[in-house]
């Protein structure tokens, strides 16, 4: 327990600094701890949780959370207000007829218009909703094949490391703060988390 607390205490300032940075500056990228930085945590379970909590800086960042809403409407910008104009999930997560995601969002970011883009732009299914949930609950959700699109842990790693839409989070275009670190660093953390038993935070 003391080990965990000291780990948490050492992470807190970094977390706080990271959050402050992401909220304050529009385009400056916050840091993400490297996977190797956790080797000092000897207890494997504690290390696993600590790693996931670091990864949580990405998972709970607006760039990710905005398209993992608890309801049927994506969120927008860094303050996470409901997407304007009204946009809904639709039957397939790709929007209502007339207001499909692709009506406005193209294959790439449209910089001059501050409109983000990716070929796979869509809303995560409702069972993958992250808004309003604790990191621990999100963690359990990510591990649960019934709620993660039937993925194994290895497939989760692959998704986090290689998925292009996930990768968009680090290249969101002007007016939008990128997720902390890089996709590579994030992927390393997820890989390490799985390797250390994929343990979830209790909160």
């Amino acid at each position: 327990m003391t080990m965990l607390r000291s780990v948490l205490l050492s992470i807190l300032p970094a977390l706080a600094a990271g959050l402050f940075l992401t909220a304050g500056q529009a385009t400056e990228t916050a840091q993400l701890k490297a996977a190797k930085d956790f080797s000092s945590v000897s207890d494997e379970r504690a290390r696993s949780v600590a790693v996931f909590e670091e990864a949580g800086k990405v998972i709970q960042h607006p760039r990710c959370v905005n398209c993992h809403p608890a309801g049927n409407r994506p969120l927008q910008n860094d303050d996470g207000h409901p997407h304007l104009p009204l946009v809904v999930r639709g039957e397939d997560g790709l929007g209502a007829i007339g207001m499909r995601c692709t009506t406005c969002h193209g294959a790439t970011n449209f910089e001059a218009g501050h409109v983000p883009g990716n070929p796979k732009w869509h809303l995560a299914p409702i069972e993958m909703a992250w808004v309003g949930k604790s990191l621990g609950a999100i963690c359990e959700q990510i591990k649960d094949p019934k709620r993660n699109g039937g993925k194994t842990l290895a497939q989760i790693v692959d998704h986090m490391v290689n998925d292009d839409l996930v990768g968009w989070g680090w290249n969101p275009g002007p007016g939008r703060t990128p997720a902390p670190g890089t996709q590579k660093e994030f992927g390393e953390l997820i890989k390490l988390w799985v390797e250390t038993g994929a343990h979830c935070p209790t909160t």
Binding site: L84, P85, L86, A112, H114
Partner: protein, 721 residues
Amino acid sequence: MPQDSGFSSGTSLSRRHFLQVGAAIGGGLMLGWVPEGQAASGSELFAPNAFIRLDRQGKVTVVSPMIEMGQGTYTSLPMLVAEELDVDMSNVGVEHSPPNDKLYGNAILGGSQTTGNSSSIRAFYLPMRQAGATARAMLIAAAAEKLNVDAEALTTEPGYVVHAAGKQRLAYGELADAAAKQQVPTKVNLKDPSTFRIIGTAAKRLDVAGKVNGTATYSIDVKLPGMKVATVAASPVFGGTVASIDEAAALKVPGVHQVVKLDNAVAVIADHYWAAKMGLKAAAVTFDDGPNATLTTADVVSALAKAAENPGAVAKNEGDVDAAFAGAATKVEAIYEAPFLAHATMEPMNCTVHVTPDGCDVWVGTQIPTVAQQAVAKTLGLKVEQVRLHNHLLGGGFGRRLEFDFIVQAALIAKQAKDPIKVVWSREEDIQHDMYRPYYYDRFAAGLDEQGTLKSWSHRIAGSAIMARFFPPLFKDGIDPDGVDGAVDMPYAVPNKRVEFIREEPPGIPTAFWRGVGPTHNVYVIESFIDELAAIAKKDPVDYRRAMLADNPRALHVLNRAADMAGWGKPLGDRRGRGVSVQNTFGSYMCQIAEVTVSESGEVHVDRVVCAVDTGVAINPDTIIAQMESGIIFGITAVLWGVITLKNGRVEQSNFDDYRMLRIEEAPVIEVEVVKSSADPGGIGEPGTSALAPAVLNAVYAATGVRLRKLPIQPALLKTQ
């Protein structure tokens, strides 16, 4: 041109007024007449006055003095002609009028060819009918000659002169040549309204076929041989100047031809808008912000508040306000504020100018063709006749296109080029270089007697005097007649009443007329404050108003009708409420009742708006309903989200992501009743907007018990406690 008192709402079209206008029309008729013997071009043979042309096929073209910006003039004005001329609307087309105050001047707006202040019908109801009747008389005279009968023996059916006795009829088209040779009568009889066939019906609009298939031409759509497109960045701080331009970088952008520097703006001319925009970005223009570099909204408000501490120019003074207030059983004071607003027409500002050795051509959508023509002439050092201005359908006016700033700017840019240059503003430029509805700061003091009856009323208004810039002769003795419009003439009977105006200009910020003009601001504050007094007097808001409208039967009627339609008094449920506003503005009487739901987080949703409107003779009832729908939705956007703020001298808002517009899913149910009336026609383009804000604010009070005295509505103030 008849010197009317100008922006007078509720101008009654007295006989004397008609004769004055008639004389002007007589002059117009003479000027517009195609002289005998002169070969007219193709099919246009009969042009008895500046408003009408009739060809040999019987097709009537109405040259509309007032521009179409959605409010329906291009249908209602031709309806007036068609009624008296006796043709079917299916045979009528409409054309833009060229700039010409003598022929197309608006008598309500000082004889200027200006579309605004909801005055088109009020100004042209009689002149257009007169024009139609005159043309009809000449067609009858021509037929009388042809048939060798007395004109009195002839009547008309739509498109035909009829000789009943002789069982003959001659088509108007057949008579066009002969009619052109007739003397223009100086006096004609107009139809008795009880015989109207077209006026009062929902005649189909004449301007819309092209608007649903992409063929309608707005000024932004102008295409000319050799034309180039430019976009422009002016100093973000009003009063600033251009400091540096990276011209070389701009010229490197493919498609860019030229960089033009004005004192306070830089334009890039290119093959198309996108190259111009990219060129402007590459130009990396910097500005010297100038004297207003640190201006904030708070600065503007504190200056207004300070100015409002002292008495202003007295616009109205009846009874003894101070004595009545001093002796009042209940004294109520309140301060109300109304923010800067942008117009945000859907079509951003744009203008095309071609400067040539002999003058220039201007293609623009404008509410002020002659004023714009004069401004361009002055700017380019030309005679007015050398400026050929071509008007277009407007993609929204709302008062923005009463200004010529962007037109003069385009002329200055085009002067430095040789091709026709189409200058298109980005939406950001449009919002940040608007000319704003002023920030108003109002102080009320009311005295009620023991029964809660309003006995003393003091209304002090501090703000920019738009009229002092727009038309200085009308800014007299420190009073802006628009600034007090709706205040000096509020519909309620109060024995002691004083209205003051204090001119306080925001440094550097240009102000201008915004839909509903003076009444939009004054009806909001007055109807909100009256509602406050009703609450203090523990009276129902509708009853409280009823008691003060005994001498104003038309206002009382619309109030009663709206209350009836709305089911006033029926319970609505928790966090839901109804609010009422009454007004007599622009020559029309209106009552709106809004129903709102306020969420726990304070978000206001306008569920339903009921509207009873008495606009005198209703030319086209469907247009009236459409203008109510339009004004209401325009008003809801403003009351919920409308605000322009200043920081570091700059307008903070830039596009529709931060200057929010009402959308279809947020629109309320709207029910409109058009009162049948034979009174002189009133105006309808604007009153729908001026009535809305207080109806909603009063509904919010009914729903939450919170009285809001500033706009836009702040949900934080309405959260459930």
